[in-house]
């Protein structure tokens, strides 16, 4: 098996009295895509946001247990949240470009990190847009507003923005659920390219999408990790009946 990039160890998360994640332990492998599936409210997004401490900002939120990235527990006393979020980028369901130019959107992370070297920024922007498979479509209009782009292009711009600070892990929360099939296909193809360089964790409601793009699949329900295995196994011969009932739509 390949190198473990993220090791989640007996992790719990509470929203006040609500126990949202229950004793989750899972290994996430480097340069692999982990797909997270499960019904609404099962803890998928909470889990995803726990991987870069995005849940810290929620009042009443409390985490227990460990999330170890490259050997360091990100919930440890010495960890630096800014550094964690640079290393672990995130892309959301709804594309959320800033009301700025395409160029400035991608440059944003570099600028707030204090980088001023114009040539460096320009080179990094080109690289990020190329990695996000958007360069060919925007290279002649980098200084146009980001809102001029289509929905699918905006989402790829957000991916480019996440890539610009050179993360190692990318978290995606339903990145294609608001896109049409063509734009969805582009994002899915892009994920296959991105995993060569990054480790990707993606939450999706679309079972076929999870089946298509992920190497491993985790099925969550009621805050618990029910089953975690190689994707082809989950979708042909899951070991738990409850997983099978969910993926075949026998729920309810």
């Amino acid at each position: 098996m390949t190198h473990i990039k993220i090791k989640v160890n007996e992790f719990n998360f509470y929203y006040g009295k609500i126990h949202a994640l229950k004793n989750i332990s899972v290994d996430i492998y480097k340069n692999n895509v982990l797909g997270i599936i499960g019904p609404s409210g099962c803890g998928k997004s909470t889990f995803l946001r726990s991987l870069n401490r995005m849940n810290d900002v929620i009042s009443g939120g409390r985490a227990e247990g460990e999330v170890i990235i490259d050997g360091n527990n990100i919930y440890g006393a010495k960890s630096d949240v800014v550094e964690i979020r640079r290393k672990v980028g995130m892309v959301f369901q709804k594309s959320n470009p800033f009301p700025k130019s395409i160029f400035d959107n991608v440059a944003y992370g570099l600028k707030i990190n204090g980088i001023k070297d114009r040539d460096f920024i320009t080179a990094r922007i080109e690289k990020s847009l190329k990695d996000a498979a958007l360069w060919q479509e925007v290279k002649d209009r980098l200084h146009k507003g980001a809102f001029e782009l289509s929905g699918g292009q905006q989402q790829r711009l957000c991916i480019a923005r996440a890539l610009a600070v050179e993360p190692e892990i990318i978290l995606m929360d339903e990145p294609a659920s608001a896109l049409d099939p063509t734009a969805t296909l582009k994002i899915e193809e892009l994920i296959q390219e991105l995993k060569k360089k990054y480790t990707i964790v993606i939450v999706t409601h679309n079972m076929q999408q999870a089946a298509r793009i992920s190497d491993f699949t985790a099925f969550f329900m009621l805050g618990k990790l029910i089953e975690y295995d190689v994707t082809s196994k989950i979708f042909t011969k899951p070991s738990k009946k409850i997983t099978e009932d969910y993926i075949t739509g026998r729920f309810g």
């Binding site: 042909t236 070991s239 738990k240 075949t248 739509g249 026998r250």
Partner: protein, 231 residues
Amino acid sequence: MERHFDEELKKMNTDILKMAALAEEAIYKSIEALKNRDKKMARSVIEDDRKIDELELVVEETAIDLLALRQPMARDLRFVTTGMKINAELERIADLAVNIAQRVVELSDKPLLKPLIDIPKLTAVARKTVKDVIDAFVKCDEKLAKEVILSDKEADRLRNLIQEELINDYLSKDTNAASRAVLLLLIARHLERICDHATNIAESVIYMIQAKVVKHHPEKLDNSKFTKYTK
């Protein structure tokens, strides 16, 4: 929760059972025609094969539609893919019954070579394996499917017995008997092939139930930890 999809799966299941019934009948009638030297019955087996061919196309089309439109997963996926394989195997089994019927037509104008003893025995084995394997499919009975796989040895034994007798007692001794002996030999061969196809179905049924591939791996005919399939 009952899904609309379940209705479509049930229809595919029903069509497969119809095919199985027709294939079983074809085997029965072809050997009855041999016993009774009934050319008319043999011809009816050959003609009725059209019905099985048509059903094969229906089942195949249903399966392709289900794969394209429903994108089945897990047990549903295993049912549809297994159904497609069973469909093809049943069609081959019916073709072999047709082959037997063709040999019967060729034999019916010639005098009887010998009383039939082992061929009816082999026929009984073939009919039982086809019946059992379809029962195993219907009831998701993994134990019965395994028995079908194991019973293939008996079919091989009977075929060898028939072959030796026909070669030693007729083919090597009596040139006048040669053509009839060859036709009987072919019938034995067709019956044994029917058992082979039933074995293939049994392997698919075990895959459907247990998600375990036992094809080419007989050592895996033991227990498995996967979720069992029930209808």
